[in-house]
Symmetry: C2
Subunit: 342 residues, 2 copies
Amino acid sequence: MTLRSARILLAKRPVGLPTEDIYAFDEVDVPSVGEGRALVRNLYLALDPAIRGWMNESKGSYMPPIGVGEPVRSGNVSQVVESRIPGIEPGQIYQTLAAWEQFSVLDARSFHGRVETEPGVPVRSAVHLFGGSGLTAYFGLFDVGRPKAGETVVVSAASGSVGSLVGQMAKNAGARAVGITGGKDKARWLVDELGFDAAIDHRSEDLRVALKAACPKGVDVYFDSVGGEILDTVLGRINVGARVALCGAIASINATAPVPGPRNYVHLIAKRGCMQGFVTIDYMQRYPEARSAIATWVREGKLRYHEDVTKGLSNAPRSFLRLFDGTHRGKLMIELSEPEGM
Amino acid sequence: MTLRSARILLAKRPVGLPTEDIYAFDEVDVPSVGEGRALVRNLYLALDPAIRGWMNESKGSYMPPIGVGEPVRSGNVSQVVESRIPGIEPGQIYQTLAAWEQFSVLDARSFHGRVETEPGVPVRSAVHLFGGSGLTAYFGLFDVGRPKAGETVVVSAASGSVGSLVGQMAKNAGARAVGITGGKDKARWLVDELGFDAAIDHRSEDLRVALKAACPKGVDVYFDSVGGEILDTVLGRINVGARVALCGAIASINATAPVPGPRNYVHLIAKRGCMQGFVTIDYMQRYPEARSAIATWVREGKLRYHEDVTKGLSNAPRSFLRLFDGTHRGKLMIELSEPEGM
C-alpha cells in the first residue's frame, strides 16, 4: 500500500506578511526510498522567522529560497520509518531540515542530530530546546556575544523562543540579563518566571529611557533579532568593546518598504564595538556541545521554556503568522503526530 | 626672555562645516616647564577628520571634546626645547598629541613615539606615515580587516592620507585593492601611481554598478571612513565572512541633519559578516611594529605617499576645510617650522 502525504506548498512568493493565498495544499504518494535516503514521519514543525526569509526570491542568503511549488521548508522533529542511510534506523527520532508535510524523504545532510530524550522533557521540546532555537541562542550568545560575568546582556524579542533562552543562558554565565519585548504581561513573565534582571515593554515604554534605567552601566552584549529602531536605540547605549550578535531582522522581514538602517552604527567606532552576523548551521560540528549544556541546565532547573503548540498541518499558515503579531511566548510549533513506540 | 606662542583656539562649537568664526587667534607667554613635563616646538600639524569630531560636545567619544576656549587639539610632529621628563631630551623629535599652537608644554602621555628619520623621507612625513594616518591604516587593515592573499579589499576616501596607504598595504599583503574616491583624476592617480587594481569615482559613476565590475568576486574586506550611502552600497556586495573596519564617518561628521543608517547591515547576517569599529590609540604598545613595517615598505618602494603642505599656523582653519571638499590628495598638513640642528 502506498503511503500518502499531505503537504503545504509555497504557491507564490509573499509580499509583506504571508497571506493565505501564497499557500497550496496537496496530497501526494510518498516516493520510494532511494539509496542514501530515508523516509521520516514528521512529528513536530518548528515555526521560525527564518522561514519567512526563505520564502523570498533572494540571492545571497545562506540557503537557497524555497522554490515556488515546493513544500514550505522547516526545521522538524521526525521519526524514521525506513532508512537506506547507514546508522539511521527505523523508530529513531531526529532533528531534521524537512518541510510542512506529513512524510519526507531526506538525504543524510538533512538529519541534524538525534533526539535524546531527557527525563521530564517531552519529545516535542527537542524541536526548539535542542533544535534551532536552543542552538541559535547558545552559539549566538556564547560565540558571538561572548558575555563575561558581571556584564550586561540585552536581548530583543526576549519572550520568543530564542530570546527567552538567551536571557537565561546569560544569567547562567553570570551576566545581567535585560529583555526587550512587546507587552507588559510578557515583560513581567520574563522577570517573574524566567529570572531576567529587567524587562522592557517597548510598546508602552520609551525604549531609550527604559534602557538607560535597566542598564545603568551600559550594554556589553546585545543579541538582536529585530533590527529597526530597537537595534538603533540599543546601539546608542553600548559600552567600549561591546558585541552585537545579529541573529535576524524581524522588523525588515515582512516590510514592504525599506526599514531605515541603524544610524547609531557610528557608536561602534568610538566604542570599538563589533556587530556580527551568524548562522547557526555553521556550528553543526558543535551541536553536541550545545545540546549537552542545554540538557544540563534543564535538569538543574536553570533553563525554563514555554511552548505554544497547535495540532494539525492545516493550521501551520495561521500559526506561522502569530510569530509576527506578538501574541505568542516561547516556541510556536505544529504537532502532526506523536512519536510511535516510545 | 619669555617665549611667546601663537595659538588657535576653539571659540565656539561648529554646526556643520567649521566656519571662520568658530576660531579665535591669540598669543600667550609659554608657561614654565613643571616636573614631568616638556616644552616642544610644534613643527608640523596633521589635519585629520578626527579633529572635527573632537570639536563636538559629545559624550561617549574615545577622547574628551576640545574645550571651548582651548587650543584646537591635533596630532603633531614636535621638537623638544626643554624637558623635565626622563628620557626625553632637547633636540629630539616626537609624534605628539598637542594643538594648533607654536609651542606646547606636554606631559609624558602626549609623546607618542620618537621620530626616526628615514633616508630620503622628509621629517614632515612622520606626521602621517609614522603618525596617525599610517598607524590607522596599518591597525585598521591588519587587525580589524585581516586581509588574506587573493581577497578583495575595498577602501573609501581612498585618495586621502589613510585610504591611499590602506590600498597599498592591502597590495603588499597579496590582496586585490579597490579604491572609492571622488573625482576621475584621483581615481586615475590611485591606479596609475599607487598601484590600486581598480578605482571608482563615485561622483561620476553609479557606485553599485562600478563596484560590481571592480569586485567580480565580491568584497572580503571593507575599510570605511565615510559611512552614508557608500557604506550601504558596499555592504550590499560583501562575501561570506567579510570584515568591515569602521574608521570614521565623514558623511556624518559635518552633517546637520541625521545621515541615514546602513540598511544593508542585514547582509551581515546571512554573510556572517563583522562590522567593527576601532581607535588607533588602543594599539599604542604596537606602534613600533607598525612603524617598522611602514619604514620597510617605504624603503622598498612599496608604499608611496603624497603630501599637501601649507605653511603658517594662520592657514590651519582654511586648510582643515579642504579635508571635506575633495580637493586634496594624501596628507593635508601645516608646516610651522623646520626642525633645528638636523
